[in-house]
């Protein structure tokens, strides 16, 4: 029997393999463009509205920047983990309150607890679009030089923290 007849079958199996590999990848998770790049410049009010925050808040300490909103259901699920992270030494927690009102955000933080050292108020998605955020929650790890080192899409589970984020944060200290 000639093996030439098997060429189309072989090509088909290769195509099948490529498509099967494609199915294992989540198209909603985009690779971040901003890894190893400086955190985008911004100047936005804090949640209280009594100060303007800019990139200088990221200087000289490792920061975990977390995008949230009072409207975001998944953020409520993630919140207990952030409350735990509040007690991690030498890690600054910065919240970006996205597409929200001050009232709703304050109420949400009173009800669920406020893990953040600083909250940047971004009702018009200015910083959000600069960061290439596609949804909340989303988290960035920023090193002491103000460079983005990691992007985590979705909820930070205890496993995510133990396996990925904590080793990274400790290596940046």
């Amino acid at each position: 029997m000639s093996l030439r007849g098997l060429i189309p079958l072989g090509a088909f199996i290769m195509l099948l393999g490529a498509l099967a590999f494609g199915l294992t990848r989540d198209p909603r998770i985009l690779p971040s463009e901003l890894i190893e790049k400086p955190f985008p410049e911004f100047a936005l009010e804090n949640l209280k509205g009594d100060a303007v925050l800019d990139t200088s808040i990221l200087k000289d300490q490792v920061s975990l920047v977390n995008v949230f909103g009072s409207w975001c259901v998944a953020c409520t699920v993630e919140h207990p983990q952030l409350m735990v992270l509040r007690d991690v030494p030498d890690l600054q927690l910065i919240g970006i309150d996205w597409r929200d009102t001050r009232d709703a955000a304050n109420r949400w933080l009173v009800r669920n607890g406020n893990p953040y050292d600083l909250v940047v108020f971004d009702p018009k998605s200015k910083l959000i679009v600069e960061l290439g955020v596609t949804g909340a929650p989303e988290t960035f790890i920023v090193d002491k030089a103000g460079k983005i080192r990691y992007k985590h899409v979705g909820i930070i589970t205890p496993e995510d923290w133990d396996d990925t984020l904590r080793p990274l944060v400790e290596s940046l200290q």
Binding site: S32, E33, L34, R99, V129, L131, G132
Partner: protein, 143 residues
């Protein structure tokens, strides 16, 4: 009823005429940018909130006097090549852009190669002496 229709038509006409040149540029840019949460719509077509946010950013950037290319570049810096509905021609997209053409050329080459082999003239055989006489006798019988 007809009057209301006419008035609304006129209003629509003036609204259309009032689309400024800058707004037109913003729409052209928006049509080239993918709404990253809806995969297959441009930010101009999509109703997703993120698309609305991105539309606003495009307009704000234009208002600062940025060129079309600069605005697209700013969005691309944040969201990556994925945000461009038309993929750029660069080293990691060469396969995407040139593979179809290569495939067409290869199959064309294969087709021509096969056809030439098939149309090659068969070698002309001359009949041997005995066949010749046999054929002649058969032909003679028939007539």
């Amino acid at each position: 009823m007809r009057l209301i229709f006419l008035i609304s038509l006129c209003l629509a006409g003036t609204a259309f005429a009032q689309t400024s040149q800058q707004e037109q540029r913003a729409r052209d840019i928006g049509a080239q940018l993918r709404c990253v949460v809806c995969q297959n719509q441009s930010i101009e077509e999509s109703d997703a909130q993120l698309a609305q946010d991105m539309r606003r950013v495009v307009r704000e950037e234009l208002a600062t006097g940025a060129s079309d290319a600069e605005v697209i570049e700013r969005i691309r810096e944040s969201y990556g090549d994925y945000v461009l509905l038309k993929p750029p021609v660069q080293s990691n997209t060469y396969v995407l852009w040139f593979f179809p053409a290569i495939l067409v050329l290869l199959s064309l080459g294969w087709f021509l190669f096969r056809r030439r082999r098939e149309t090659e003239p068969l070698a002309v055989e001359t009949l041997s002496q005995s066949d010749e006489t046999l054929l002649k006798s058969l032909m003679d019988d028939k007539s």
